[in-house]
Every structure is written in C-alpha cells, then in structure tokens.
Symmetry: D2
Subunit: 308 residues, 4 copies
C-alpha cells in the first residue's frame, strides 16, 4: 500500500499538510529498546536547517501515543502525531480550481477525482516530517548494532532571487555486516533506490561509482580483494547480488528544484484554460539542506527492515 | 519476498543456472486474455542479441504448464519452465572454494552459508530469462490497453579483447493515461527504480532529465502546460507526485561492465588466501544488447501491476 | 503484520488500554465517499450495550485526524484516535509481576520479554474499539453497494453472581453479488474465519450448516438450484470454492467466557510460585452483547477488502 | 494473492486438475536443511489412503526442479511439479455448459468469466497435492525444532452406496514453545483457522474446547497453572492472545460431504435451465481419510511461517 513502507519494521503515515495533524504508526519495532525521544527531536530540528526565514515555522512537536512504557519499547505499534500549526490555508484558496505546473495537483485529481488543495495536501513535502520521526526510531535500533548513516550535500547551488535550485545528496551507511539483503527482486540496492525515489523531488539514484561506471571496463570496475575480505576499491557501493559485502554502502540521490517559485506561473484549469498567477504561500528556494535528514531517515527505514 | 515481484500481477521465479530448470509462476493475470506464445518466443530471442559467438547456446524453450485453456488465460496461475541445457558445470569446479571479485559468491555465502557455484547458481544472469518470459505476458495485457514499452541502447561501447564494457539503456513507456501510480511510498517512479535496480549489474537510475535536473533552476525545470493537459517539456519523465501525468514515461538505467573477464583474476578463499586464476566458462564482454529486453520486461511487470 | 488487517482496504491499529490513546489508520478507502461520522458514533455506542453498570465508562470519542475534506473522503489515509479516559491503572499494580490464568500476560512476556500490565495493555478487549470505528467506515463503502451486515446473539447465557459466560453470535451478510472472493488460499470463507478468530475470546467458527454438516450425506447437503441461480437451501453459507454464489453469507462465531472473574484466582509469578488473588478492575460477566458490533466490524472489513 | 500461502515460508501453487502439471514454489525455506525426499513421498502416499478402488490412480511423482544441491537446501526457491496422468477429460465434456450444485463451477465463472471444466480445473481437490508436498518440506524444518503435527479422524462415517459423507478431523501440534504467534489480527489461532478453512469442503473450525466452551462459565473454562507454567486443563487449545503458551495446540476441522455423487443431479445452464444428469468421473464417497494429511500439511505451513 502506498502509505506503508517496509515489511518487518513497518511505517504507515497519514495526514494532509493543512489538516489537523500528520503522523505515523511504526509496527515491528523490537521490544525492550531504549526510546530516545531526543534523537527524534534533534532530527526534526535538522529538517528545518536552511529554511528560508520567511517560510512556515513548524515547531513539529512529535507526540508519542502508544508503544512505549517506562522509556522502553513494548514491541507494540508506536503511534505518533505532529499537529499542524501556523497554517495559512487562505493562501491556497485561489488554487482550488487550478493545476500548477510541475506539481501533483493534476495527477492526484486524475487518480482520486479530488485533492486537498491546501498546502499541497497529502502531496506536500510536509509529509516527510513523519518519515524523519520514524527514521529516528529506526536509527535507535541501528545504533545498537553499530550501524551509522550519514548523508550530506554533494552538489549544492545558491538560489537566485525568485528561483529555486536542485542538487545531489550523498549518503554512506557504515557498519552493515556482510550478508544483509536479498537476491533477485528484493535486492538491498533495489530497495534503497525505491526508498530514495519516493522522496519528493528525487529524480535520480546511483550506487557506488554509478553512472561513471558505464565508462569503465570490467578490469577497472571490479573491486579487488584485500585478505580481510574488504576490497581495495568500492565501485559497487558495498552491495553485490543485492547483498551487502561488508564495505560501506554508498549512494547518491539527485533532486530537481521545487517547481513553485515566486514568479508568474501558468496554471491550467479543469477546462484547459491557462491562467497566469504569482503563487502565494511559502516555498523553499533550496530544499536540499533540509532534505539531508530525510535521505538518512529513508536509508534507516530501509536498512532496519533487513536487519531485524 | 525476494523471489516475488509485484502485488496484483505477481511473478515468482525459481531456478539455478545449472539446475534442472528455471522458471516462474505468474499469478493475477486477468482471465480471458488471448495468450500470444509467439511474443514470449520473440522476446526470448531478443535476449540473445549480440551474444558472443562463443557463449552458451541457450535455446530457452518456454513450456507453459498451467493457466491457459484454448489459448485464453483462465485467471489462474500461469506456470512456465525453461529447461537448462548445454550446461558445462565442470567449468566451475575450480570456483567452489573461491570467491571471485565483483561477484555475489561471497555475499551469497555470507547470507545463506552456502551457494550453488555452478554458473553463478541463482545469482546468474540466466535468472533474467524468467523475467523476460513473464514480461512478455505482461506486455500482452498492456498491448490491449495501447500501452507500449520501448527500450534501446543509449550509450554503448565496443569491448576490447579480453575486457568487458557497461553502458546506458533508455526506456520509454507510452500510452499510460494520467492517474496511474500511487503517492508517498509506492510512487510509480519509486517502483520503476526498484525494478530496474534489481536487474543484474544495474548501478544507476534516473527519470526524465535525471541528474542533469540538479543543475536547472525551477523556472527551467518545471514542465509548462499545453491546453490539452500535455506539457511542452517532459523534464519530470511523465510522473508527478508518484502518479503518471499522461506524458510518455521516460527513464534511463546505467549498467556496469560484467566483472568476469578472461584475464588473470585474484580470487579469495574462505581462509583469506588470494589465488590468481583465469576464469573459464563463457562470459559476455558486452551484455548491454541482451539486457534491453530485460529492461522492457521489468518495465512491463511494473506498469501492469498498477494498471490491472 | 500483526497490527494490520486487509490488503486493499487496510486497517492498522495501535494503542494500549491505559496509554494516552488507541486508534487506527485506514488506508485504501475510496475517494469521494460521503463520510458519515454518525455511523461511527452509533456503532461505538453499540459496543457498550449490556455493559455492567459498574464497569468502565468509556466515552470513546473518535477524533478524525486526516483523509476527510468537506465531509468527503480524499482517498488518503483516514487516521483516528480515541483517547483513553477514566483509567484506573492502580487497579493493576498488583499484576505487574503475576500472570493470570486464561490471559495473555504470560504469552506476551514470552513473545516480547515485557508487557504493559495496565488494563491488559495491547491485549485488552479495548483494542476492539478501533476495529469498530474502522468497521463503520467499511460499512459506509458497503452501504453504497447495497451490502448489509447483521450480527446478533444466537446463544446467550445469564451470568451468575461472580462468574462469566460465553455464547454464540450469528452473522448474515446480504447483498454480496456472485463472484466475490478468491480460490485456493485466499478463500472468502478462510478470510472470514481468520477475521472472526482474531476477535478476543473467539474459539470457534462455522459457515452455513457448519459442524452439523458433518452428519449430513452429500445428497442432503448439496444446495440445489432454483432457475434464478439462487439455491433452495444454503447449507454452504453462500460461498463455494472460496467465492460467493449470490446467496446470503452466513456464519457463526463461538466465544468462550472471559477469564477474569471476581473470585479467588491462582496467578503464577516469574519464578513459578502460585499466588491467590481476587482481581480488582472492572470486567464484563457477559461480553457477548457488546461483541456483536465487533463481529459486524470484522465482517465489514473482510468483505470491503474483496469488493473495492 | 490467492495462490500464495504464508509470508516468510511462502508457498505458491499452480495447475489445473487435467492440465499438464500441478506444482508449487516454496520460497523462504532456510538454507542448509537436509532435504528428505522420502518424507514428501510418504506424505503423498497418505493422500491416497482410503481412496475408492475405482477412483483415479494418481502416482503423484513429485519432481524437484530447483533449490537443492547435494541433498541440502540452498535457501533459494524450491520448485516442484507433479505431472497429471491418467486423466479422463472426456468424462467432463458434458459439464462444459452446466453448473453442478454444491460446486465452484458457477462461482468461478462469475469470478473469472470462464473456467477449466475438466476435472474441476483449479477448484479440484487435486490442488491439495501441492499443499501436501510443500507441507512435507515445512515438516522437515519443524522436525529439526522438535515440533510434531498429528492429525487423525475424530468423527467418521461409512458412506452408503451412491452417497458421500463428511466428518471431523482433529489435530495436535506439540513442541511449540511459548511465545510463538502474534497479537491482534495475525493471531496464531486466526491463521490456523484461515489455513484450515482454505481446504476444500472445510466448513467449521474450533480451538481447544471450541463450541462446547460457550456453555462453560469462566471459573470452569480458565486453564489453571501448574508451577512449571503448564496448565492443568487446555480448554484454550494452547494459544492465548494469539500467542502459544507452550501447551499442545489442539483444534478440530469439520468437513462437509463432497457434493458430487453418483445419483441423478440437477445442474443449471447459463440460461437458467435445469438439466438432470448422472455425473461421470471418479469421486470419493468419503474424502476424510485422505484429507488428514492435508490438515497436517496446512498446519505445518502455518506454524513454520511463525517459527522461522
């Protein structure tokens, strides 16, 4: 199902950007885990790094409703909600009848026959807040197994006045022992690709040497052995045949610029009539800095599902 | 599960490269579909395009065991087998105790404690034959809905003597109406990414403008409307918010060179001792031409799962 | 996963009996459905029918957090919470170290290494409140398709002072057209059996003539045709080969008495020492009347998953 | 999906009764298991116990196609086929246009728009042969964990000339440690109920004291402790809150008589015209003896999915 991620450590998210609350349910978290609420709070804070001063002030308080007793997980579902505050839904009243270019307005209506136009509704980047909260819970499990995830900006641009930029985020997962993953369809790299491409505005994914590997020959590409089963190079990105080989798992995710900018924009209505508007609302010109922790969260949710 | 792909139109594959047979079971194919065995046969033939003259002659006869009556599908599982012939398992006897660089030998043993060393066993590219057969069945369903899938080589290299090359395959899916796909985690682009990255030696994936989009600004990237709801550009690759917008769906897949080449190769044994061998067996120096139909098959299996 | 029911119309529930809240997320509800909050409220009220005057007063206000706009469903997840009020957790402090007979105290600890002892935690019958709320949403979908579900008491007993009773609930689903269900493993009757046996204290299930059919001969049991494709008898309970035949679907569920009673009770501690206590807390002596709407809810959730 | 059972140890079956072959794929069997082909063969033989001398002689040779090397499982899918022999499809030619009473003829056509009329096609009891073969593989896994499954006839009848009988099969699973199962929706008893009700002609299921428990009071029903955590009675059938308590797991399954008998039978055609025929073909008058091993197989497949 579309709103559920994972099979063993499973996250189900819900909520529209300007509804009462967004949130999620984590099912499958092992019992007896020390619950570190501060890790959730600090990752939620990282989701605001670099946000334009003028944009929405989300305090994003994560409230835990279940699954924890005496700061230990019970093994039962951990439900959490994040109330939506500081919403300015009036900003979007003009968009009820219009489809913006580069947005999911039109596709949601084709899929469901309707949508919540306020703040992008379910298609809003705000939905990633639930991913970050659940990703922090996944990190608690991984930390106990000495698995660390670090994402950072690899290619970043400075946005000009009134326009937006994209970029590339690189991520390294260290501490994954050899033998994690599955062959054939459920390859660890395939699952990482899906999880990364599910992040709003992701448009490309590559493991290890990635697209550059297409210009190598086999004699150069193949990662030769050291006598401790590590390899001298890591062109494959730590995964062979869908299964980890014990080297760091490395990948990159390309993000396109967000498509709402404070410039005249041609929208289309249901009758095919074009209307030029200047979008109101608050929009990031560079969403890359705050997406770094989302990449980490999705990596954590992917790995934990193979590890437990 | 690792050997099952899809949720509604579901393929389960089985078989080792040098076992009795490989094959698959397709569950969820609609009833009453005209079964076009020739489409399977011709796609199986395409999987041999460009194969080195010296490599394995797989006749790859697909035998249908169930699910068809009077050339129409029954709606019940369609099982098929492809017998393994012309296997030269002796070529691999020296590899039983060695892990080759760049292969899944080591990772399979870390995952399962054992592996079938003959011809790569389950990790062999031969496994893709079952994907191609099932992909052809998916294409039969899509053809009835006027959906066409075309993959082709975008970047190809001529292999030097005794070395292998990678490249890029581009794919276009046309005829998908707007509104196909799901939001959040099960985005159509996320599922395409997973299906492509599950192909042996895939190492990168990008939709539409892909990595080049990271250097665009929002005003350039966003795909502006025509008044028939098509867009003037297609930088997003036909998918917005995880759901098709009616434009052609376009993506590219990067493949690294295969890592078995006819050159001295340092393998490692279970004790961490390095051994230099020259691999026997038959190996493609350029696997890209025969991978084109595999890309199409996985695209077909992905799309059909959303369409039915 | 254990806390998710269904595949297309999918309910995930959460919450401990004496935690902050219980609740659920319904994913897969069709868009554009008129949302009838009153149906939820009235079914929640039915869950209190026949409750002993002395037992917990649950107001059970269902708060909808997402998925609804202007009283229509959006097609996105519908999350709801029911706050826990009037909890008397102190009643259970003596049970932290004891396992009661006939309860899940011991089995939860064997499964998870811990449990929430307050009010039965996740194993409490209170968890069924989330099923009833979600079942009412399923009924909204079914009502539009003229499918009706009616459960009632078939065998009921009057509890003596200080003891509890079981009984049988019968259920009829009318309006299901022929052709609903799946063959082999996912038979409609198999799914109904699982959904009913998942209700706390369910201990038996039978379709149509049920156990009495074991004493019939084939000539008596088989349901002969009328010329409108209805059948003169309905011994099979409206399902053949796992698929509905258009007749009313009928089944019965047997429930054992609840095992907490206000009599001296031998509990066991972690060291295997038996302790006689008289349980505090509030317990139903006859839970059958309030279980009727739970049977309906699970039937609705089962059928809707095949219908949409 | 309808033709797949289980989530971790997963069986997918295929095949029509009079097609080329039936069979299955077991995915998720642990690697390194000693593969005991004789156990499969002997369980396949038990599926013929008590068969009328005049009925179909199925040799039912199970051919393994994959997943085994040197008599050890590889951890990869184990595919097997059972060729259909001694089919007398002409016996069924008269049934192509008729729906028999008590059969899935009509419901399959309502579901799929067509069916294979030869020998019941996919709805034939022959499909259970694949369950028995896979169940024997599951038993190999369970045997290593000292878990034993024993089913036997509890209520059996002698069929009169030209009529069929039903009955009750009882089953005990011993050696399951406490703590196996899941709470809420995926209760072990709920999964057992579904697996048993998926067997052709199953019509009732009860755990432990079953329907008789509805007449007990709580003071009688509750299973009191011994000081070794066993219980003095086992009314609950070894499962509490969906999780095993270490006692033997006991349940009973009610089966109705098969509905094809060698007596004049009123069938209906697509136009609603009734036709009286005397069925040809070979039919069991008492299918209970050969169903015993099917009950065991489904119990094994259910338990192994929780155990591994």
């Amino acid at each position: 199902m579309s709103n559920t991620f994972g099979t063993k450590f499973r996250l189900t998210t819900f909520g529209e950007s300007h509804g009462i609350a967004i949130g999620g349910v984590v099912d499958g978290c092992p019992a007896g885990l020390k619950f570190d609420k501060q890790l959730i709070d600090s990752d939620m804070q990282r989701r605001h790094i670099g946000t334009d001063a003028t944009t929405r002030q989300e305090r994003d308080q994560v409230e835990i409703l279940s699954g924890i007793l005496n700061e230990l997980t019970l093994g039962t579902p951990i439900a959490f909600i994040i109330k939506n505050e500081d919403t300015r839904s009036d900003d979007y009243s003009s968009l009820t009848e219009l489809y913006r270019p580069g947005h999911a307005d039109y596709t949601y209506e084709m899929r469901y026959g309707r949508r919540d136009p306020r703040g992008g509704g379910r298609a809003s980047g705000r939905e990633t807040a639930a991913r970050v909260a659940a990703g922090a819970i996944a990190k608690m499990v991984l930390r106990d197994k000495a698995i660390r995830i670090n994402a950072s900006l690899q290619e970043s641009h400075t946005p000009p006045a009134n326009d937006s930029v994209g970029g590339i985020i690189t991520c390294t997962i260290s501490g994954v022992p050899a033998g994690i993953g599955d062959p054939v369809f459920n390859k660890l790299n395939a699952r990482l690709a899906a999880s990364m491409m599910s992040i709003p505005s992701a448009i490309g994914f590559e493991m290890g040497a990635g697209f550059a590997a297409t210009k190598m020959q086999g004699s150069e590409f193949r990662d030769n052995w050291n006598d401790d089963f590590s390899t001298r190079t890591n062109h494959c990105g730590g995964i062979q045949g869908g299964i980890s080989n014990g080297m760091p798992i490395t990948f990159r995710v390309a993000f396109h610029p967000v498509t709402t900018i404070s410039q005249p924009t041609e929208c289309i209505d249901r009758n095919g009539i074009l209307h030029t508007i200047v979008p109101e609302g608050r929009h990031d010109r560079n969403h890359l800095p705050r997406t770094v922790v989302v990449v980490e969260a999705m990596a954590a949710l992917t790995i934990v599902d193979f590890i437990i």
